[in-house]
């Protein structure tokens, strides 16, 4: 991380003058309570405001930011110039930085961060906002995919709840990538906090405003995502920003079933039903999570195979090889997949199953010297249908070749199907499955790339690995 500190003597002088002038005109009453932190609203007007630093993100083009005195709003000073690199630029893959004032500022008297921006071409700033301090980012705010044009235009990033920002360090941050293969330049000026008085009609949301339901178990955790705050601005248009969990006050309707932390992590602690909701500055957020917990479940048996004899795809007992995804969301698939953590054991929870594919093609698994695929599953809703596991070798051509009508492998792919019958499944008990790597893949298992589950049960998956 590159750490540059930039002072603008002129800005400091201006601030000094402003203080002197205002102190001539004001008389303070005996009731005045002094703020602990300065409430300077300016971030970058004609130059840096006092105390502001520039810290680019790791991996970004470190010198993407410069002060430009040629392009600016107004007759004097300078603007902030950002040069987004081309794809493949060795100096960095994107432009991005934070601009903190590590002394902290009291922003409670403002309702928005505003600025003027223009770009060398119509383009998108992927993320732009405030509250990023390379620390806890407690009050992080991001306006995602802000489209800017080639003309200077004023933009407004509303503060989800100004009363929280009593000592904010993260004055401004951004991240932007190339448009297509080519980079571009954009400028920001007159960057400051304002009390607009027109930021109104707050409509917070969690889970993107959706009322979600989950069947779960003791020890399972969920992270509340899709946290946003939406305001109507003076333009009459809505503006939505992504807001950090700390702006919200989360609540569980039944703390004997599920508890929720101030950071929005839900932990299931008992059997029954609980609904998680949230408030932001006293306004009820749209969206919720209703958990139906079946209480305690046992964890899967701990694997006993020696580390040297295992290629693991998903297990806490081993180091896992790269997996592209645990749900390919193939056309026609209804299957949903959730990450569940019970007592530090990571599980995949598959629901609404018809079929679902796991792929691991980067790189493929060479199981020539391995004899079995192992997995542990647990379900609470066994049915009269078979549960099938398909293991696919994609051959030497580097792609999976599947008959789109039958799902069968096309040459040069090879596949085996292993069937678990309903009689083998007991609700609420872990079933350990060991599949011999024989049959069609007995002599071609050096490019294993896919595992498919077919059936209609909801199940937990753990310890998915190849072994000798």
């Amino acid at each position: 991380m590159k750490n540059m500190k930039i002072f603008s003597l002129k800005t400091l002088l201006l601030v000094f003058i402003a203080v002197v002038i205002s102190s001539c005109e004001r008389t303070l009453s005996g009731d005045v309570v002094f703020a602990t932190f300065p409430n300077n609203p300016e971030v970058f007007i004609d130059g840096f405001s006092g105390g502001l630093e520039y810290l680019p993100f790791a991996g970004s083009k470190l010198d993407a930011f410069t002060v430009d005195s040629e392009v600016r709003v107004g007759e004097f000073g300078a603007s902030m110039r950002f040069d987004v690199p081309n794809v493949g630029d060795p100096a960095g893959t994107f432009a991005g930085a934070i601009f903190p004032d590590n002394g902290g500022r009291d922003l409670t008297g403002y309702d928005a961060l505003t600025f003027y921006a223009r770009a060398s071409q119509g383009s998108t700033i992927n993320e732009i906002g405030f509250g990023n301090d390379f620390g806890d980012n407690t009050y992080l705010v991001a306006l995602n995919n802000l489209k800017i044009s080639t003309a200077w235009t004023k933009y407004t990033i509303p503060i989800p709840d100004p009363s929280k920002l009593v000592a904010e360090k993260g004055m401004f941050w951004y991240a932007a990538g190339a448009e297509g293969p080519y980079g571009h330049t954009f400028w920001i000026d007159e960057l400051k906090y304002e009390k607009l008085g027109t930021v109104a009609q707050p409509r917070p949301a969690i889970f993107g405003g959706v009322d979600k339901t989950e069947d779960s178990f003791n020890g399972a955790t969920f992270t509340i995502d899709g946290l946003t705050q939406t305001f109507n601005l003076a333009s009459g248009l809505d503006q939505t920003v992504a807001a950090a969990p700390s702006y919200f006050e989360f609540k569980s309707s039944n703390v004997d079933v599920a508890r929720v932390s101030e950071l929005g992590v839900v932990t299931v602690v008992g059997a029954g039903e609980a609904t998680i909701t949230a408030l932001l500055a006293g306004v009820k957020a749209k969206g919720s999570l209703t958990i139906t917990s079946s209480g305690n479940i046992a964890l899967a048996p701990t694997p006993t195979a020696p580390v040297a004899d295992v290629i693991s795809l998903f297990s806490d007992a081993y180091t896992n090889v790269p997996v592209d995804f645990f749900n390919g969301f193939y056309g026609g698939s209804t299957t949903e997949t959730a990450d569940i953590v019970i007592n530090n054991d990571n599980l995949k929870y598959y629901t609404k199953l018809n079929f679902v594919g796991i792929e691991f093609g980067n790189p493929t698994v060479n199981a020539t010297a391995y004899n079995f695929l192992h997995l542990d599953i647990l379900t609470n809703n066994s049915t009269s249908s078979n549960f099938q596991i398909k293991v696919r070798d994609r051959g030497s051509n580097g792609v999976l070749n599947t008959d789109i009508f039958t799902g069968n492998p096309l040459p040069d792919d090879k596949e085996i199907t292993f069937t678990v019958t309903p009689a083998q499944i007991t609700n609420g008990e872990w079933l350990s499955i060991d599949i011999p790597l024989t049959g069609d893949i007995a002599t071609q298992k050096n490019n294993l790339a896919q595992i498919v589950f077919v059936g209609d049960i909801d199940f937990l998956l753990d310890n998915l690995y190849f072994y000798k």
Binding site: L196, T198, A200, N232, G236
Partner: protein, 277 residues
Amino acid sequence: MKQGNTSISKAPAVLRHAFLSVTILFLAFGCGDDTQTVVTRTELVMQDEFNKDGSPSSDLWGFDIGNGSNGWGNNELQYYTDRRENVTIQSGHLIITAREESFKGSNYTSARLLTKGKFEQQYGRFEARIRLPWGQGIWPAFWMLGADIDTNPWPAAGEIDIMEFRGQEPTLILGSVHGPGYSGGEAISKSYSLTNGRFDTGFHVFGIEWGPNFVNYYVDNVLYNQITPADVTGEWVFEKPFYILINLAVGGSFVGSPNDETVFPQTMLVDYVRVYK
């Protein structure tokens, strides 16, 4: 507003009265010299503080019901009712609610109250304290029509729009007069904007002071326009009794239709209506 399209500003009126407006602004924000005021609040002759929960008093208020002719002449989308869902008094406020619902062939319901045949007056100060609704396609208004409209059809009857508001322009209201030769899109109109606020987050007083050959327009304590016979491009038809209307329209040519961002229901809260002699 009754049958109007987009109102237009009239530059000469603005220029002519710029000096007056500046003077009033100075007084309003000045040193509190009570001896000079243009705001006349003496001899209250009608008031409704909406202090009794339930339906508005039938002694004072009637209702327009239905979807009018061509959406009340403006292609408005709502069906007006007098149901509690659309109009009620609670906690000291008249609450007019626009809802998105299928009702007798319309997709929205709302309400329109009027004092026709119950309270009609020539001249005076007419004011209401209102918190406005918001969003694309939302069109509340506090306005007046000439009491002889049944025998002297609009626009000859005359119309005084004390306040009109486009939900998609939350910082701005309009005050207008319509008459023969200056109606609809040709109305004599001026807007007033809040610089650090908006009309849907708190109450504001919208008023006119109307006398022989003038109508003065106020928001809170700010006089922002005066319209006289010299400003209108036709006959001055404001020397006779008018009645009051309060309504919350949805859609129509003045505002356009609601869109995906428009939140329903929308409520217009009226704290009081007062008329001075």
